[in-house]
């Protein structure tokens, strides 16, 4: 079954000042697929993702379900795209449940009461991320791993068909990295189009349905992990000598040394 692409990106160019950050990126995100965007620091991954979320002006085509992103109201856009930025910032010591409920922001206004759908979405997001145990604690008192899961819960509570996650596993211990990866995979297999930026190539090889490699502003490879992640490409893009290993989890790279 080939679902219509949820997010169509055609020849997108992003300039910040005079600098060309994203140089002609083309990409389709389909429902039900977890796509991972990898690449070295400064490749333009975050800028591309911010452009897809409508946060920086971009040239080229960005369509959602056939409609141009720029034609959507901010509220419509927010209902279709959930964006989880880097860093998991929380400025006020609000309770976790109130932070997760911010995911419902695009569904209400100043005068509309909290609906049952809102409550269900928040409860579901809390349960999925295992954060319901500290739902009433102030978010600023949590550990890094707990914050990362709360941030993801907030994005999941949007219940948007497209989820963009910028380094969702950063600062997590191994167990919680796996928890978050499984959550993203589940979000995709439940019908979402999920794009995540990650730096752990072995995790990407294992969990991604598809890997896109970005280097110096360009998307240079796009396909199944097995086809895209090769020792030659890892050497060329990341400057790292890698050994490809086949085992019960599939084929994944073991990183040996910088070149």
């Amino acid at each position: 079954m080939t679902a219509e692409p949820k997010l169509h990106v055609g020849d997108v160019v992003v300039r910040l000042g005079d600098r060309l950050i994203v140089d002609g990126a083309s990409l389709d995100l389909a429902a039900g697929k977890l796509t991972m965007l990898i690449g070295p620091n400064g490749a333009g991954k975050t800028t591309l993702m911010r452009a897809l979320a409508g946060l920086v002006p971009a040239e080229g085509r960005i369509d959602i379900g056939g409609r141009p992103l720029a034609a959507l109201t901010p509220r419509d856009r927010a209902r279709r795209i959930a964006y989880l930025p880097q860093g998991h910032v929380f400025h006020w010591p609000m309770p976790v449940a109130a932070v997760v409920a911010l995911g419902r922001y695009p569904y209400g206004d100043a005068f509309s009461p909290v609906t049952d759908a809102d409550r269900r979405a928040v409860a579901k997001a809390l349960a999925a991320t295992g954060t319901e145990g500290f739902a009433s604690r102030a978010v600023t008192t949590l550990s890094g791993g707990e914050r990362a899961r709360v941030a993801l819960a907030r994005a999941l509570a949007c219940e948007a068909p497209i989820l963009l996650a910028d380094e969702p596993t950063v600062s997590l211990d191994p167990r919680h990295q796996l928890v978050v990866m499984e959550l993203l995979a589940r979000a995709a297999h439940n019908g979402g189009a999920v794009l995540a930026i990650v730096h752990d190539l072995a995790m990407a090889a294992r969990f991604a349905d598809r890997i896109v490699i970005m280097d110096r502003g360009r998307l240079i490879a796009d396909g199944a992990p097995r086809d895209v992640l090769t020792a030659e490409r890892i050497a060329a893009v990341f400057g790292v000598e890698a050994l490809m290993v086949d085992d019960a989890t599939g084929r994944h790279p073991v990183l040996l040394r910088p070149i």
Partner: protein, 343 residues
């Protein structure tokens, strides 16, 4: 109702009751002390005609102004803290009160009007509006927060220098003294005219801020996440800066500079609303009203030197004397938290 909602509602009701009590005390207190009964009769206009004049023409305007100005400072402070996501933000940040001071000082210095006449607030409001226009022109419609803050700082410094220059060049020592006292902030001898000229600006300020209260909650996640949730961050910033400048500019134009209410009021109520930057706005406004009304009662109770020029201790002096130790305590608390985090 969640716990934050019910504790917030309880707080709002308590503060409203407190404001009513303080307002009533404010009608009773002054050189001519009135009993509660005399104050009520004076307010209603029956009973002793002298009491009626004191209550309705002298104490009612200053009481209502204290409530409105205090509420404006409290709301403006909470809104700016929400916008900037920083508990140390305060309404003087963008230069509007300083610019209002320039306009008012100019009018007083050149003898165009006395310190309590109608022309002073008009000039103050014009000063505040010029500063808002300048801020938007310098920073640009879609400026970043840091550029807006720097532009505000530049305007505030310029306005401070301009006020100093006016004091410096004041034609008579009396004019300089009058400006100096006016700058200390007071609600003495204000009339209903002052209320009517400032009220539209207060209402406009509240409306602009209220439209953006919900965005403050999304901004707790940072500007990118808030924008991805559908908040127009640039428009929110513009509306809040203008709303704060309108309200605070008008307040300073009428009452002179009164500090620290905007900083202190949100802090006193933040815990009760579980740090929700949207829900804090209403109780912060009520707390501001209660604080300023209480301060304005205090200036009438503290005996000033009867031989000095000023009959009362100035309101701005009282709010600063209470506010500065509070501010220091907050800085020490922040320092302790950051020391704890880095060690």
């Amino acid at each position: 109702m969640t716990r934050a909602e019910s504790s917030g509602l309880r707080l709002n009701l308590t503060l409203t009751a407190l404001i009513i009590v303080l307002a009533f005390v404010s009608l009773m207190v002054g050189p001519a002390g009135l009993s509660p009964r005399q104050a009520l009769e004076g307010l209603a206009g029956n009973g002793d005609p002298a009491a009626a004049i004191v209550v309705r023409d002298i104490r009612l305007p200053r009481t209502l102004l204290a409530i409105l100005i205090g509420a404006t400072f409290g709301f403006a402070g909470a809104a700016l803290q929400g916008l900037l996501r920083n508990p140390l933000a305060e309404p003087a940040l963008f230069g509007a009160p300083q610019a209002a001071s320039v306009g008012a000082s100019f009018v007083i210095a050149y003898g165009i009007a006395g310190a309590t006449s109608f022309a002073v607030p008009v000039a103050g409001i014009v000063g505040a509006l010029v500063s808002i226009g300048g801020l938007v022109a310098i920073a640009g419609r879609r400026a970043s927060l840091s550029v807006t803050l720097l532009a505000g700082l530049a305007l505030a410094s310029l306005a401070g220098a301009a006020t100093a220059l006016i004091l410096n060049l004041a034609p008579t020592p009396y004019a300089a003294l009058e400006i100096a006292f006016w700058l200390l902030g007071s609600l003495e001898d204000r009339s209903m005219d002052h209320l009517w000229i400032a009220a539209p600006f207060f209402v406009a300020s509240w409306a602009l801020l209220a439209l953006n209260v919900r965005a403050f909650r999304a901004l707790t996640l940072g500007e990118d996440a808030a924008a991805s949730l559908g908040v127009d961050v640039g428009r929110t910033r513009l509306m809040v800066v203008i709303g704060v400048a309108l309200g605070v500019g008008a307040a300073v134009a009428v009452a002179g500079s009164i500090g620290f209410i905007g900083l202190v009021a949100p802090h006193l109520v933040r815990r009760a609303v579980h740090s929700d930057p949207a829900r804090v706005c209403l109780p912060a406004a009520l707390m501001g009203a209660a604080l300023l009304t209480a301060a304005d009662i205090a200036v009438r109770l503290v005996p000033a030197n009867p031989n000095a020029t000023a009959i009362e201790i100035k309101l701005g002096v009282v709010t600063a004397i209470i506010g500065v130790p509070f501010f220091l305590a907050m800085i020490f608390r922040e320092r302790r938290l950051s020391d704890g985090a880095s060690s």
